[in-house]
């Protein structure tokens, strides 16, 4: 068997078959049950919550990611090596552990939890906790995409801009940012995909209350456990569609990148 045939077979067995099965089961009885399942208020709320978390976590991690990458590459400050290593922690750490750590910090008997609760600020079982968990697990992607590109372009163009009279901000806007824009875009796509799909860490800190703190991934699990298989499959299809959309976006961008 050739290498290509083997990789295709592997992809079909591991990726394509399960995802296709989800689509097939969701539309097994036609489109009507599918629409009914995803337009029920709990499902709509879960979708909205997932998007609300994603739309805040992605910009946060994009700004942080770009600044962090510049700090790692451009500034020879002691401690930057540690930061570089720490950025990868969310990739290595199981999301469940992240959730548990947040629970220990912000829970009623946690380090910050007592004080925050006394001042009426709810972190756990509420939007802030879910945002924290999602931001944590999706943190490395922009940094990891931007760091190698910054290394590759070097500092000469920035120095040239400085000798031509450009301020640090102008240099960043007109020279550095255009040079890393595709790396940032890939990072944003990966971060978005990760945020949409997040389950483990959020599951621990959200409590998964239907119609209140339930994200789309949690809705899938809850529906499945309640023998609402159509609901579970329909929501899964929605998640898969969002993921495929982001991947398509990335492919289109890669094409744009190559032509520039």
């Amino acid at each position: 068997m050739t290498v290509r045939a083997f990789s295709l077979a592997y992809l079909a067995a591991i990726l394509v078959a399960p995802v296709s099965l989800i689509f097939w089961r969701a539309f097994e009885h036609g489109r009507q049950p599918f629409w009914a399942a995803i337009s029920n208020p709990t499902a709509v709320h879960a979708l909205k919550l997932t998007l609300e978390i994603t739309l805040v976590a992605v910009p946060l991690n994009t700004v942080f990611g770009v600044l962090c990458a510049i700090a790692i590459v451009r500034h020879r400050v002691p401690g930057m090596g540690l930061v570089n290593a720490l950025v990868d922690l969310p990739l290595a750490l199981s999301p469940v552990v992240v959730g548990l750590a947040l629970y220990l910090l912000y829970g009623r008997s946690g380090w910050f939890g007592g004080w925050l609760n006394a001042h009426g600020l709810r972190i756990l079982f509420a939007y802030p906790g879910m945002l924290l968990a999602t931001t944590f697990v999706s943190l490395p992607f922009v940094v990891r995409e931007v760091v190698p590109v910054l290394r590759e372009i070097g500092t000469e163009q920035e120095q040239a801009a400085a000798t031509l009279g450009a301020s640090a901000l102008t240099t960043f806007r007109r020279i550095t940012l255009p040079a890393i824009r595709w790396a940032v875009a890939y990072g944003v796509v990966l971060t978005t995909a990760r945020c949409l799909g997040e389950f483990g860490a959020v599951a621990i800190v959200s409590g998964g209350i239907a119609g209140r703190t339930q994200t789309l991934t949690q809705y899938v699990q809850a529906s499945y456990e309640n023998f609402d298989q159509t609901g579970a499959y329909a929501a899964s299809v929605l998640l898969a569609a969002l993921a495929i959309l982001t991947l398509l976006l990335m492919t289109v961008m890669r094409r744009g990148d190559r032509s520039s």
Binding site: A161, L164, G165, A166, A179
Partner: protein, 316 residues
């Protein structure tokens, strides 16, 4: 003086790139910083541009103290060794950059950029990207970009280093003509003594972070201050505690009182010049430089015995 560096020192870790360097550059002159790699010449250029901060010493540009001034505020144009083109901008946008960020009116920007592209012989290539240019074209684009904001001083780091030999010589002559037209005070860094002697009004010879000599090309060649300058500026033979230029060695077929016997090891014909590699009777190796006519007249062949006399030798 357009540029003055006073007692400038700069260390990178344990490596002393510049040690107590003082240089004066006259207004409107074309000055070469000449030296081997690691001599500190590029570091000195970067200190003048404000891209490196010296550990001690002062820099003055047009009489103004500039030591602590940011590169943006020095009125200096800098051409990098590898040109540092803005890769995502066209040639036109590259040249316009320094003018646009100064918020010059659009018409003035267009007129100035077109004029500069004409000057550097890139008119018609404005819409190309730097990756679509040859090395020589990229170099001229970088020069136009540096000249656009009308700097008081133009600094060039190994401007011809990355080009092939023929383009290098063409650009050299072109840069000299350009300088004669524009009179911008210019400093360029080079490790090529021929380039320095051909182009510059004044040459600063550097070695191991120090200035060895500052002189015009002719004085540098004829009156080198020390052994380093003698051996770095032009080819040289070390003979009997003295230094002899190969063209100051005379060859003849008959001995007289002041000649030494030597054997021809190899005759190398380089167009107009012929180089003769010799071994003297005491085993000392040397080479002589003759014109083609002189060499033809002597009819030298490998293995011949000749008699050698030195016309002019220097001791330090």
């Amino acid at each position: 003086m357009a540029i003055e560096a006073r007692s400038v020192s700069k260390k990178f870790g344990d490596f002393a790139a510049l040690e107590d360097v003082s240089v004066d550059v006259a207004s409107g002159s074309l000055t070469a910083l000449l030296g081997p790699s690691g001599s500190g010449k590029s570091t000195l250029l970067r200190v003048i541009a404000g891209l490196e901060v010296p550990d001690s010493g002062d820099v003055f540009i047009s009489g103004r103290e500039a030591t602590a001034l940011a590169p943006q505020k020095r009125g200096v144009g800098f051409v990098f060794q590898h040109y540092a083109p803005f890769t995502h901008m066209t040639v036109w946008e590259n040249v316009a950059f320094g003018l646009k960020i100064r918020k010059r009116p659009k018409d003035a920007v267009r007129a100035r950029v077109d004029e500069l592209l004409e000057l550097v012989q890139l008119a018609g290539l404005g819409k190309r990207y730097p990756s679509q240019l040859s090395g020589g074209q990229r170099q001229r684009m970088a020069l136009a970009r540096a000249l656009a904001p009308e700097p008081e001083v133009l600094l060039l780091d190994e401007p011809f280093g990355a080009l092939d030999a023929r383009v290098r010589i063409e650009l050299r002559e072109w840069l000299r003509r350009l300088h004669d037209e524009m009179h911008v005070t210019t400093i360029f860094v080079t490790h090529d003594q021929e380039e320095a002697l051909e182009l510059a009004d004044s040459v600063v010879v550097m070695n191991k972070g120090r200035v060895e000599q500052v002189a015009g090309p002719r004085q540098l060649y004829d009156e080198p201050a020390n052994e380093f300058v003698m051996s770095f500026v032009g080819p040289v033979n070390r003979l009997d505690d003295g230094w002899v230029r190969p063209h100051d060695i005379e060859l003849r077929h008959e001995a007289n009182g002041s000649t030494r016997e030597a054997q021809v090891l190899r005759v190398v014909r380089l167009g107009f010049e012929t180089r003769i590699e010799l071994e003297r009777d005491d085993g000392e190796r040397l080479h002589a430089q003759l014109t083609r006519d002189e060499a033809d007249e002597l009819e030298l062949r490998d293995g011949d015995i000749v008699y050698v006399r030195t016309r002019k030798s220097r001791r330090f």
